[in-house]
Symmetry: C2
Subunit: 211 residues, 2 copies
């Protein structure tokens, strides 16, 4: 092992902090699994949750039977992370190899929604995850709404980090024989699979077809 050629910026980070609210919105509108952190009995806890942006807030929902959601409805401090992994950055050295990603981290406290706001929020969640689905299904029953908690986290305190770009190798490595580039990560939907108990005459609906 050698010290390698001199380099003064070895501990720099490729990522860039961004204050671009439209880039934040674009991330929140394209990734719908978030990770919600909070403190329970003095210890950090992180749980995955579906997330949907509603203007200047992010909606989280779940069962009223969920202890942690009830905990968050009581205005505990939370941190919500939403991350997209866009590509592998394959550099000429292991050290310079990394990941192209977009990372949003929001801080704040949640408000529990009720009544018309809650009902509207649930429709928005459904139509964001499966656009057009609300018009294809029955309205929620009163007991279903009662069994669901919807929390809203305001988009006020947040940070956004964007790692884009290409491998940034030492001049020695660029002159060498190793390959360098980027391998995109592609996330898509596969062909829909009908439920085992689906009645045979029912076709795939437009909302699912469009996914």
């Amino acid at each position: 092992m050698t010290d390698g050629p001199e380099r003064t910026d070895v501990s720099r980070l490729r990522e860039k902090a961004s204050t671009d609210r439209s880039a934040l919105n674009a991330l929140l509108d394209s990734v719908h699994v978030g990770h919600l952190g909070f403190i329970r009995a003095g210890s950090p806890v992180v749980l995955p949750t579906a997330v949907v942006r509603d203007g200047d807030r992010v909606l989280v929902h779940g069962s009223t039977g969920s202890p942690w959601l009830r905990h968050l409805a009581g205005s505990a401090a939370v941190c919500l992370a939403v991350t997209a992994m866009d590509a592998l950055i394959v550099a000429r050295s292991a050290f310079e190899s990394s990941i192209r990603y977009r990372s949003a981290v929001l801080f704040g406290t949640c408000t529990s929604l009720a009544g018309e706001q809650k009902s509207h929020a649930l429709d928005l969640i459904t139509d964001t995850l499966i656009p057009g689905r609300v018009a294809e299904v029955r309205r929620p029953y009163e007991r279903e709404l009662a069994a669901t908690l919807v929390l809203a986290l305001p988009i006020e305190q947040w940070s956004l980090k964007l790692s884009t770009g290409w491998p940034d190798d030492d001049a020695d490595d660029v002159a060498g024989n190793a390959w360098a580039g980027v391998v995109p990560v592609v996330t898509s939907y596969g062909a829909p699979l009908p439920a085992p108990d689906l009645r045979s005459a029912i076709p795939v609906p437009p909302s699912v077809h469009r996914l």
Copy 2:
């Protein structure tokens, strides 16, 4: 809006807790972006990080310039969540629609690796993210190792939740006209893109080709 047909199990959760260590390993070996939660100045913080399993521990790494990694090296309590979103579960009602996922949550404190262990861990991280890459690139320089922190979180305290299965609609809804099924989420790699400064004679290496 109506109350809907009676149903006693309306707040049940479809997810199942699992104590299957091999299912935990399978998840940790297939998803390499995790979310690490910790407490900073009394508040919860969640940050995304690359994660790689090394036997009975999970490796996290980053720059020594990262204040939060240095904080975690000091044995702060952490919670690491690793989540796979496998499919949309499209039920006949919005209420029953959900997500097929696998969710691991690990709790503990991290140990900072040094010397041979650290070097071995970095090779494992590289070869897990891009199998075969270590043999294709030069060894890390001493200054690169010095600029990198590698933390290990033991797989001791953990919980695993698996949401598999199909829509579980009310009998009334099953008898109705709405479609139900599952739409798989597929994550794959796109075609490799060469770096702008790549020398023209260098072909895509086997490690990247195999991705």
